[in-house]
Symmetry: C2
Subunit: 324 residues, 2 copies
């Protein structure tokens, strides 16, 4: 959920950003942009990973950072129903990063490219004070098959593909104790882009889709705002990753802090017509977690004890004090 400062920034920048028009199928404000090139949809996303903001060298190897820099962009494309094809990298290199380090970073990018069928077609390495990796991924999608954030309708079911909370719980455990739980941290180090599931959901009539990167609650709120709908989610239905509950118990934290508010999950969240939900859940390995309702754009979590929480306050905010 954007902070007041972030809302101010979004309002300031909106006049400069194109959202649609002519051959621009999807512009700013979704997971990726889509441009119509003679009837083919060219899909473009860019994500920047910054040291000590998005990764820690103590937790992620250079290869992990490279892998993740490609994976998170593939996840953006997956959320449009697109298939990634090529990647370009812009690398900010401080003096303490050796050529061998950069080679490992490229090895990681290359592994992710191989996994999701991309080619790395350009790279720009520049001197800098801090390590940052900016990756652009291009892909394709039929313009008429693009799934936006804005199409969810009351009565649609909400489907999640992938599990939630592992990255946040793994990082919280590391921060609190210095321990590495590799089974949890793999989600943070090497996220899985749900490209095939994204295509299946798009083909199956998904009305809205987003990749869960800011946290389930925050990203569902994005969908609600873009679609002008509400949503109710059953907490017990959320696909919590193995081991999250144990970390929450040990650190005496509400597990939904990680599951619904954690971020870095790279699960796919889709609204789908209710009749199609069971088959799409089976086809993608996803689970139905709740329902879209009419009403003001807000996402409600119904807890096991029957109480409800507005999820708008949950999730990653790059500028928020609580996560600085």
């Amino acid at each position: 959920m954007p902070s007041e400062g972030e809302f101010d920034l979004i309002a300031r920048l909106a006049p400069f950003l194109a959202t649609s028009g002519e051959d621009l199928v999807v512009g700013h404000g979704d997971d990726a942009a889509v441009i119509d090139v003679d009837g083919r949809g060219v899909c473009l996303a860019v994500d920047v990973l910054v040291e000590d903001v998005h990764f820690l060298r103590a937790v992620s190897s250079m290869s992990d950072v490279g892998y993740k820099s490609v994976a998170v962009n593939c996840s953006d494309l997956a959320a449009m129903g697109a298939t990634p094809s090529v990647a370009l990298v812009g690398l900010c290199r401080p003096t303490d990063v050796s050529s061998a380090d950069i080679q490992q970073l490229y090895e990681g990018m290359s592994e992710a490219c191989e996994r999701w069928g991309l080619r790395l077609v350009g790279g720009d390495t520049v001197a800098a004070q801090a390590l940052a990796v900016s990756v652009t991924v291009m892909g394709d999608v039929a313009p008429e098959g693009v799934v936006r954030r804005s199409g969810a309708r009351p009565g649609d079911h909400l489907l999640v593909v992938g599990s939630l909370g592992a990255a946040a719980a793994g990082l919280a455990l590391y921060r609190a104790t210095g321990e590495f739980d590799d089974d949890l941290l793999i989600a943070h180090r090497r996220p899985v882009a749900r490209v095939a599931a994204g295509r299946t959901l798009a083909d199956g009539g998904a009305t809205a889709m987003i990749d869960v990167s800011d946290g389930f609650g925050a990203d569902l709120t994005h969908v609600c705002q873009a679609s002008g709908v509400g949503a109710v989610v059953e907490a017990t239905a959320l696909p919590a990753a193995d081991g999250v509950a144990a970390v929450a118990k040990r650190l005496e934290v509400d597990p939904y802090t990680y599951i619904a508010g954690g971020g870095d999950d790279y699960a796919l969240l889709a609204a789908v017509p209710a009749p199609a939900a069971p088959a799409l859940a089976t086809a993608t390995g996803g689970v139905v977690v709740g329902e879209v309702i009419a009403g003001p754009p807000s996402a409600t979590l119904r807890l096991p004890d029957g109480s409800t929480v507005d999820m708008a306050g949950m999730g990653w905010d790059h500028y928020g004090e609580e996560r600085a």
Copy 2:
């Protein structure tokens, strides 16, 4: 000219970068990549501008930085014969950059987008320790009309569109004296992408093309290496920017340090068939500065006194000591 460190890095990364194949018309190693999408060439470039490496806040306003971040990518596309269409930005934002600063940066990007006919279709702003702007520009070009660095042939004439040395001389003067010469510094702050000239040269049969960003000598050497040819350039023919000679005299520096070794010029350098050179020079406002010759890949500058210099050692090297 890459340093030994940079050569080592290039060799390490080469195995991970695709240069051609299938629908990849141009991959890594040129100004931009070109992907064949159903017969249309989609051209992609990414450039990262980093504070204190590529710009100084004392010299460039936020608006200038935004403008330049788009212009340098348009210049890359121009060197392929492509026409830019959309831009995406990834912005690394340190805490001392305000929302008003970012707005100004976007205003500058927007001005450049308007000038060269692009739309800004996506932006990602992330917290970071240092200010860096990563811009991706997409454009289009007929796949058969793409001009690479590698096609220069002995006998071709070398054409330069734009002037040389202003940015380097302006920055040298500022560093030596603290003085701002706005007529020179405009080249550094708000470079001009030669998009129309690039198309004219491509349509007119240019055999090789590059944008002069690292310095004329270094970039001509890149063309010679990619094409497997030599080149001889008349120093007196080079289109030195007004005011460069005066700065060189004042700072007691060889003016060709700025003109042939400066960087940040964003002129276009093309090899063109000799018979076409006069008409292309007229059409683009360019000048013929020399000739492609058979022989080992090296670029020679013939000075007014008849002596010659290998230009390989001239020009910007991000990792070189002399410019650190």
